[in-house]
Symmetry: C2
Subunit: 550 residues, 2 copies
């Protein structure tokens, strides 16, 4: 395609052309719903006007501590009103918010904080013991600000500069926020892969604003209607995990009531869902399963009907979606990853499907969904050729969008690997149907290459999970001299004392072979029964550790 | 405020950071609602997939005619599916869409087309007679493409290159659209002031995309719910007038069914409103008044209940809003101007007001409304100081937003005047209340300065309009040796043969003086009865001509 020369016209010397700044999202939310509430557990609530005043106060407090534009500020906290304030105040003064993944091993946390060059740390008292042994090596940190909720004085070797609430309370409620280049980095965090050190991804003001606008448009679509100023939102995805999918920014723009549950405890989550009449949450399937399996919910002592849950991180299964539906819970899927801010697709069903019965809808609800505005998405074959939208051609998912991390922080080789041929390679394998609907079938590294064919470990897991007596399953490929790889399954029985036999599982799978749904060579040789399947810090199957267990 | 140095990080060499391009809006709409319809009068309908294919065909047709990036392409058409296709295809090849105001006088149309340096013209057959005498002077035009709806051959001296439908039909349905600088100009059109030549305003891909995203977020707000894929949209604001408020772009993004009524004829408008079940339109008060006063509507033979109408251009009056409400029509206000793309504020009511009865709501529905996301809006005194949000401090409205024309095209002095001190000066006078709600009281040049006080001509018009026997009124200031200016009123009586007397009108106003609503010196000396009040090409009171009439 030849380069084009469109018309660019000069601006008046005195004209203003505003940058896209995160602060505008907050301004819009306060105008839309100044009286709406921000709630923290059963401990605190204040309205949007106070939320805004506290963001200004936090900016003053940070400035007073010497934090300036370009500095990286680490936050270690549970999901809270404070964290929401950090989402705004830190980028709005031109600093970078580093959302530390507090579920990583201490040595990984140390690695990420040193690699990010954190200059200042905001830390909840629960994580002080974690940081104390690391502080000596975090030589670039100039100060630690404590978030304390317990009344008694805290004894610590950390060089604290003060307490969050105390410091905020002393500050003026108006800060004159600067405007600057919209391509300035606003947020930074780390994602763990199967090999090597965690990788830093970063997002600019422009990227977060555009992601928020596209997410807002999607979340207000008919049938979805997840967020607006009449809705109550509570994340059950940690705020350190891809900005809780960016939803706190979107909820703020639209003026939704926001509930932050602190540390995730099933009783507190359920209490808040009920007492605050939460309309919308998002989480990984494991967490949704935990909630719907809780005694109070399963026995229907507690009514969660009307609750809408967007599920991502790993695939929503039809059985979980059906179980939720039985409780009146409306689930949909979303798809994205740390590198993509994260939202790429959402389960906005085709118009005719929304009219169908729930059993027709379930498969649609479990697919990744439709690309949201501005997302260009392909499935491509091993030569990088885009495959047709026919619902069965399977290839690697690759994307372009105005909010994808432009590199891994200080990792040139891995950045080049991520961004081959101008496309961000997700490492996921899937297909796109004629509606443009994406279905993910596997991680490319979890596809089992056996006898020259690709076998989806996810598909095999889905069949095995239907076998009576099986609670959870993970399938991986193990190397095999003859076939290249062969599938192997790790299985958790529902009754640990009376697991089904390995042969019973294989016999169960044989019916799918007879039905033509599965190839005979897809039946795993090895079926191993275990008490528990290893998970990553965000609740996904940890196939790296599973491989070492088999 | 000191300049700040935030962190800017390098991208991977192969990373893609997409520009904000108008074409993405169309892509998103087709994904969201491929089966939804685009309707043209009672003559034609096709779905979004065909709409997309036709945009690609139009791009091919234009390219074939030698139109290239940077060229300005003029369109003279009624509101149509063709115009919608031009909204996309012309900017998407990097050319500039010039939406010609066909209601201007021929010499003004000539001025704008020459000033814009139009290189190619798309013209509906109805406007061929208008262009024929101008063509000799439009020396830069390389070709004219005819839009013909009548079957008989057209005889014309215009050098036609072909017919729109015929040429489109011969083109392939896929065009490989380029990506380019998002600051490239996409649209250009002219606005007429009270003095001098029409002024050209222009908008870039970036500006239109951001305006669309903010409009989409606003139009989906609860209680507003104007547009989504389940809604049917029909503009009653011409597409040459500030891109029909940008709504065709927003409707396309969200996948709404779109109905284009062609030339505005009351019978056709009402027919389409009913047969297509139109949910949402926007127009000036004059047009809404024309519709609700039509015989079929007023007599309730035709039911328009459920129709939502956004009113702008000039102020919605409570009496018109009440009359519409009585017919089940839900009206709200919006505010903006040609220079602002246009949307700045919209009548999203405060939460408690939405619960109130209609009489409580009416004053809110007639105010300009709440700034939409990314709009910074002030009312400022004559020294440029922002006034408090107290609901009564009145000053000039000035704005900043990421979608304001950055200049008047090739007009340096007028551009500097528009953009004083980094703010776009709207020339409107108003106040902002504690909710952030804007109310416009007048044009700054229509404020009557009498005895050192400011008197709002709009306010006075509102009082006079309540006088029995009066159909329409316009108030202006006439110079006065003693007082500087004095108000004068031009009045159209409901019964031309039996107008009220001038003294009756003054006596009627005296009651508002007694009630403390009006100052005694606000009662006009001159009240003149006329058959008709001069209007501008877009239906607003033409105070320039009114002044010459008094």
């Amino acid at each position: 395609m030849p380069a084009v020369t469109p018309k660019i016209l000069p601006a008046a010397a005195s004209a203003t052309n505003p940058s896209l700044m995160i602060g505008e999202l907050l301004e819009a939310g306060v105008r839309m719903a100044g009286d709406n509430q921000i709630v923290y557990r059963d401990q605190r609530r204040h309205d949007y006007r106070q939320f805004q005043a506290r963001v200004h106060q936090l900016a003053h407090a940070l400035t007073l501590q010497g934090v300036k534009a370009g500095d990286v500020v680490a936050v270690l906290d549970w999901d809270s009103h404070r964290y929401l304030e950090c989402f705004f105040a830190i980028p709005m003064i031109g600093a970078v918010l580093h959302t530390v993944n507090i579920r990583l091993a201490p040595e990984q946390i140390l690695y990420t904080m040193a690699h990010a060059e954190d200059a200042f740390v905001i830390v909840h008292e629960d994580f002080v013991p974690l940081l104390e042994p690391l502080a000596d090596e975090l030589t670039q940190v100039r100060g630690y600000l404590l978030c304390q909720e317990t009344p008694q004085p805290l004894e610590t070797s950390l060089p604290l500069v003060g307490e969050f609430e105390h410091l905020l309370g002393q500050q003026p409620t108006h800060y004159d926020f600067p405007s600057f280049d919209e391509n300035a980095v606003a947020t930074l965090f780390y994602t763990t892969g199967t090999t090597g050190n965690p990788k830093g991804v970063f997002f600019t003001h422009r990227q977060l604003v555009l992601h928020t606008m596209a997410e807002a448009s999607t979340f207000q679509a008919p049938g979805f209607e997840l967020l607006n100023r009449d809705k109550v939102y509570m994340p059950i995805t940690p705020m350190f995990h891809v900005h809780a999918w960016g939803v706190p920014y979107t909820a703020t723009l639209l003026g939704a009531t926001q509930v932050y549950p602190g540390r995730y405890e099933p009783d507190m989550l359920i209490k808040l869902l009920v007492s605050e009449n939460v309309d919308f949450s998002h989480c990984v399937p494991t967490l949704l399963n935990m909630v719907v399996s809780a005694d109070a919910i399963a026995s229907q002592q507690v009514d969660l009907s009307g609750w809408k849950v967007l599920v991502g991180g790993s695939a929503l299964t039809e059985s979980l979606a059906r179980k939720a539906w039985g409780l009146g819970i409306d689930t949909r899927s979303a798809y994205g990853m740390s590198e993509t801010c994260p939202l790429l697709t959402a389960g906005i069903l085709p118009g005719d499907v929304t009219q169908a019965d729930i059993e027709t809808q379930l498969p649609w609800r479990c697919k990744a969904g439709l690309p949201i505005p501005f997302v260009k998405l392909q499935v491509a074959d091993t030569n990088g050729q885009a495959l047709p939208h026919d619902g069965h051609s399977v290839g690697e998912v690759r994307v372009q969008a105005p909010w994808l991390t432009q590199a891994y922080y200080k990792e040139e080789a891995r950045s080049a690997e991520l961004w081959r041929e101008g496309w961000l390679h997700t490492g996921d394998v899937g297909s796109i149907d004629e509606h443009g609907f994406l279905a993910i079938s596997d991680r490319i590294k979890d596809v089992i290459k056996t006898g020259g064919e690709w076998l989806s470990s996810l598909e095999l897991e889905s069949y095995i999970s239907q076998c009576p007596g099986i609670a959870e399953v993970a399938v991986i490929g193990v190397s095999d001299d003859k076939w290249g790889e062969r599938p192997a399954a790790l299985v958790v029985p529902t009754d640990l004392n009376h697991p089904p036999t390995s042969d019973a599982v294989k016999a169960f799978l044989a019916q799918f072979v007879e039905q033509g749904k599965l190839n005979r060579w897809a039946i795993p040789e090895v079926v191993r029964f275990v008490d528990e399947i290893p998970k990553t810090s965000v609740g996904k199957l940890d196939k790296k550790r599973i491989r070492s267990d088999i």
